[in-house]
Every structure is written in C-alpha cells, then in structure tokens.
Subunit: 239 residues, 2 copies
Amino acid sequence: MPASKRKVSSEAPSAPSAPGKIPHTALYQEVAERLRQRIFAHQLAPGDWIDEQALAADFGISRTPLREALKVLASEGLVTLKPRRGCYVTEISERDLDDIFPLMAMLEGRSAWEAASRLQDEDLARLEEIHARLEAHAASGQVDGFFELNQDFHRLIQEISGNRWLLQLAQDLRKVLKLTRMHSLTVDGRLEQSMAEHQAVMAALRARDATAAEHAMRDHLLAGRRAIARISTQRNPPG
Amino acid sequence: MPASKRKVSSEAPSAPSAPGKIPHTALYQEVAERLRQRIFAHQLAPGDWIDEQALAADFGISRTPLREALKVLASEGLVTLKPRRGCYVTEISERDLDDIFPLMAMLEGRSAWEAASRLQDEDLARLEEIHARLEAHAASGQVDGFFELNQDFHRLIQEISGNRWLLQLAQDLRKVLKLTRMHSLTVDGRLEQSMAEHQAVMAALRARDATAAEHAMRDHLLAGRRAIARISTQRNPPG
DNA sequence: GTCGATAATTATGGATACAGTATTATCAAG
DNA sequence: CTTGATAATACTGTATCCATAATTATCGAC
C-alpha cells in the first residue's frame, strides 16, 4: 500500500508560511505533534500499545518518520520504548504525581521569581489579558477553555523568565502531567480556588515582588496536587 | 559500500550479558551512547557538523539507526537538528551557563534534601566510599578521575532521593554542561575547595539534616559556576 | 577581478525491502 | 481440561534505494 501522496499535512503545515519562507518543518516533527494530540486526547491512552504499521498507514506515511517521532516522544516521557517489544503510551502512577508536582512547583516557582525580576510593562499587559480571559471562563464554568488558557498563562510566565532551559524542563513535565487527564479543575470549586491563587500570583507580579511571586506560584501548584488527590480518593476510596 | 557485518559492537555490548538474559539493546541506543562519548571527548566539538554518511560508515551501520540516535541526542540538547541542513553539535554560551547552573543548584539541592530525608545506612555507606575515593584523587591531584567520581557522587545522591523525574532532569542538564568541557576543577585550588563543599554536604547527610544538605549542595553548585566564570575571564579578559 | 546566474554535486528526508525475533495459534500428551 | 512443545504469523529493527532540496563549482557579464 504505497503512499503516493502525503496525507499528513492535509490540514495545516504547523509552521507559519511566510511567502518567501517555506516552512520545511520535518515530517517527523509534524507526526510527533499529531501523536501528542492523540495521546493528550486519550485517543491513545496510557498503557496502549502503539501499532506502527497501522499508524503509519493512518497518517499516510512510511514507518521511518513515525519511528523517529516516537524516539522524540520517548525522551519527552510520553511513550516508553521496549526493545523488540514495541512502543507503549506511558502510564503515570500516584507515586509519579507525588514526585512530579513538587518538581513543577519548584520550577514554576523559580519561573515566577525570574519573571517578576525581569517583568516589562508589555509583559504584564499580556498577562493581564490572559488573566482577564481566565476570569471570564471561570465565571461561566468553561473548564476546557480554562484549561487551555491556564496553560498559556503558565507558559507565558516561563517565557518572560527568559530562561529557555527552565522553560524546556517545565514544558516537558507538563506534557507528562497531561497524560493523566485528571484535571484538578473538575473538582468542585477548584476553578474558583485556582483563580484566587492566580490572583495572588498576579498581585505579586504587579508589585514586582519576586519572592512573593515564587511562593504564590509554588502554593498554586501544590494546591493543584491536593485537588487531584481528592479526585483519586473519591474514585478509589481508601480501604 | 554495504556493511555486511556490524562493527559497532566490536568492543563491548554495553549491557551486561547474563547468560539467560540477552541484552537486546537496540542499535540506535548503542550508537547514541558512542556519539555522547565522542561529543564529551570533544572528538565532535560544539558547532561541528555531523556527517551522517561518514559516521554511519565509521560505525559500520546504515544511516537509519544513526538518524534515530541523533533524534535522541537532539532532545537531550547535545545536538541541534536544522531541517534540511543537517545536524550540529550544540554550542553553549555564557548566558546558557548562567541559566543552567542556578537550575542545577535548585534540582541538586532538592535531591540532597530528599536524599537526606530517606537516607538508609547502606546508602550512606556507599556515599562515604565514593567520598573517600574522591579525597584520595584530590590529594594526588588526579583531575580526570576526580571528575568522573564527582559525577558518580552527585548521581548517587539523586538516586537516593528516589525521584526518577528529578534524576532525569538533572542528568539531562549535566550532559549539556559536559559540552563545555570547562571543568571548573582545572582552576587553581578548586579541587580542594570542591572537597570542602562536599564535606559540608556529607556532614549534613550524616546528620540527616535535609535543609542543611539542600543548602550545602546548592552552594556547591553555585561555587562551581563562579569557578568556571574565573576561567572565562582569564581566557577572555574583560575589555 | 568581482559579482551574479546557472549547472553539477552532494546530503537530507522519506519509502521500501528484508532478516530476525517475539507472539500467537495449533496440536499432542498427560 | 490443562499443560507443554512446535509451527505459523506478525512486528520490530536495519539496510538500501530514491526524490528533492541545499551547497558548491563553473561560467559569463560587468
């Protein structure tokens, strides 16, 4: 079944295509992004085996770029490669959550600290805009939209921090967390509580108070962990 | 020029081969490891273009597993893939060092904190052993041996911390730092100073004082950054 | 002699082909 | 009916091949 035409870029070539600048993003990168989407959507759920041939056929490509994409996802922690046994979507345990959230709290806390130190008026304006939209989503209870915007908010702070390595680490861990799909936001009242915590972060940023921003962000993340823990005990009541 | 026989595993198949347990480590992994060694040895220096065909021929393999290995190294940050333009060994700037070292200080500080909290007598014994050998190397001024053992020391603490995500992040950053080869240990007296800092870490661990261990480790890393800064200003005196 | 356009070369990215191993299915024995 | 051995199947890992884009070399114009 030869794939005479690429189907993969049928929708959008991911990179902005300025007239003179052909995107030229490698196929394996596009494939990696599409795989991430499927994984986050739990179309490929944790523990699932990844059928290379079927997926390649589905994407209308050969196995070569697909396998390259899987190598990338493996080092992001989204999939696990078992030699000679194939590729599986990574499963995250409660233990992993306990390990990852404090790390995220530390990294994002540091981001907030650095961001507060370097914050330009223009940066603050962009944050305020996202923050306002978050308020709106929270008020109308749009969890999905809130979730996406929330990610933008955190990412922007990491970008403002200006430390590309810090950004990279935090983004990688965030991807892993998205595997669980246990969005703490589904907990009753968590949306409002989350906004209150964001308020604290924003207040510290407006005041250019780095230490306060760091602590507010740290508390925000750790509160998120507790909210998820509440979901778990709800679903699996302790014996 | 077909490669009829694998030359790649001529020396050692990296994984220990227990009789019943065939290693079955994939070729791309072996290749990735050999590439890391060449990069750390500056046989492939920062900025160098990586000639896929030449390397594949050198290893006696095809380009396919080599390219998969390069994808892995790229996500570790050791090489940079430029679409349609090939693969280059990553170059690290002073700015990157300023970004990475505080991160490492934070991560390794946290490792030390967790390690101190969970430390078993057996763990401590293993640390003491490495520590003692470090002392010996320092006394006889064996910089290379010290460097390797030092890595073992740090890695062991991260392993004792029991947080595999923390271990992963720290190891990735350490690999990137090894790109520079500016081992702070070559600075006059740094070997002794480094040992003094290790002493502080060990003392805190022996006392199971998590906070002290965290601070000692953090200070140790930041002192390392300052030592490297001294090398830089030595080589490139400020105008 | 320098600059620019065009042709030749070379390297990258992707597809296909193939060998070897793991898994599953089949079947016989207890 | 369960258990173990053997055969068939399917998939992973690697090599080879090919198309296309990038680089270099050649040649001509100014």
